[in-house]
């Protein structure tokens, strides 16, 4: 798809979210719901004794019944439907031809860990903080966008073997 048309479509989805629900798109918030729910299920005692979980569950009594969780379930469905229509459904590891699958997976996990940690510190990721934040012109949106993309650009040279 032409990327500019694609961008307009993404913008329209964003506007629908604002108009219907008064909020933009997000991704990392749903993962936090999953993590807190998992910890609560596996170690309920630990959750009762930890300030962070107690505070979180006070404001989010049922973490899985959240807007972002339902939205992310939709993302799974929407992505799958588009992939099916375009014939892109396939189990594979995508990587530069210069690295092994093993290296790619290790760095994917590492990148995920950093993104997960960073998204919590930064109160939102590329979707919730940068894209949505910029659309509502929030200062933090522009700052997130600049630091996420700025840091990635700054480090790109040093890890170029992963991609090119």
């Amino acid at each position: 798809m032409n990327p500019y048309i694609g961008g307009v479509l993404l913008g329209l989805v964003l506007i629908m979210a604002f108009w219907i629900s008064g909020r933009g798109l997000g991704a990392s918030g749903a993962s936090k719901s999953v993590v807190v729910t998992a910890v609560k299920t596996v170690a309920p005692k630990h959750v009762e004794n930890t300030a962070f979980y107690k505070d979180y569950l006070e404001t989010h009594p049922n973490p899985m019944k959240s807007w972002l969780v339902f939205q992310m379930l939709g993302v799974l469905v929407g992505g799958f439907v588009s992939g099916a229509i375009s014939g892109r459904l396939k189990f594979q590891v995508e990587k530069s031809p210069k690295i092994t699958n093993r290296t790619r997976i290790i760095f994917a996990v590492l990148g995920g860990i950093l993104f997960g940690l960073g998204s919590q510190l930064g109160r939102g990721c590329t979707s919730g903080s940068a894209l949505t934040g910029m659309a509502v012109l929030s200062l933090s949106g522009f700052l997130s966008m600049a630091t996420i993309f700025g840091t990635a650009f700054a480090l790109a040279y040093f890890v170029r073997k992963l991609w090119i």
Partner: protein
């Protein structure tokens, strides 16, 4: 008048159902634009594929202009839209950590779920990493609590912050984006690669 949920036009449960539908739209648009490909996403940082830049900034502009017009026609009450708060240090620190995660892992949280949905195993590994990263954050929270809450400056919008109007800032954003699109188009020619085809299937 919107937002519908704020004006009690839809119920809380209907709102969750719409969240699911909006998510389908979000996932579909991400996937059809190739955001389910880590090499495409990473391409942005080497110039060989700048689709991310084009889609991302077009969407931000459409969102900003759309909100502006809808508020002018009284279709939406901008004061009821959630504005992300700014905690200066954690916004900058979190952004830098996310940037490192982006270039190492090749995805961000939304795109990794989208890519996992079509079978990308590296994306699935990335999603697993996200859970670990968030778990580290929640377990170690006392360690970074102070940093997390430091330098709170409310929820300013950039136009207020700069003493300008919404309209002027939006126009400025459009002009900056047009400049970046031009650079993106140039970069894709300059840094084109033999082992990577743009808009591959």
């Amino acid at each position: 008048m919107g937002p519908l949920i704020v004006y009690d036009i839809i119920s809380d449960n209907a709102n969750l159902f719409f969240a699911f539908l909006i998510g389908i739209g979000f996932g579909f648009v991400l996937e059809i634009n190739g955001f389910s490909s880590s090499r495409r996403l990473a391409g942005m940082f080497y110039g060989y594929d700048t689709t991310v830049l084009k889609v991302f900034f077009t969407a931000a502009i459409v969102g900003a202009v759309g909100l502006l017009f809808m508020s002018l026609f009284n279709w939406i009450d901008l004061s009821s839209i959630y504005i992300n708060p700014t905690f200066l240090w954690s916004t900058l620190g979190g952004g830098a950590i996310m940037g490192a995660g982006f270039i190492l892992g090749g995805y961000c949280p939304g795109t990794s779920v989208c890519a996992a949905s079509i079978g990308k195993l590296d994306a699935l590994a990335f999603v697993g990493g996200i859970f670990i990263g968030i778990f580290i954050f929640t377990e170690g929270f006392p360690l970074w609590e102070e940093f997390y809450n430091a330098k709170y400056i409310g929820s300013p919008v950039l136009s207020e912050f700069l003493g300008s109007s919404r309209g002027v800032l939006t126009l400025l954003m459009i002009l900056v984006a047009l400049g970046m699109f031009w650079i993106g188009e140039w970069a894709e020619k300059r840094f084109a690669r033999d082992d990577y085809k743009l808009n591959q299937k």
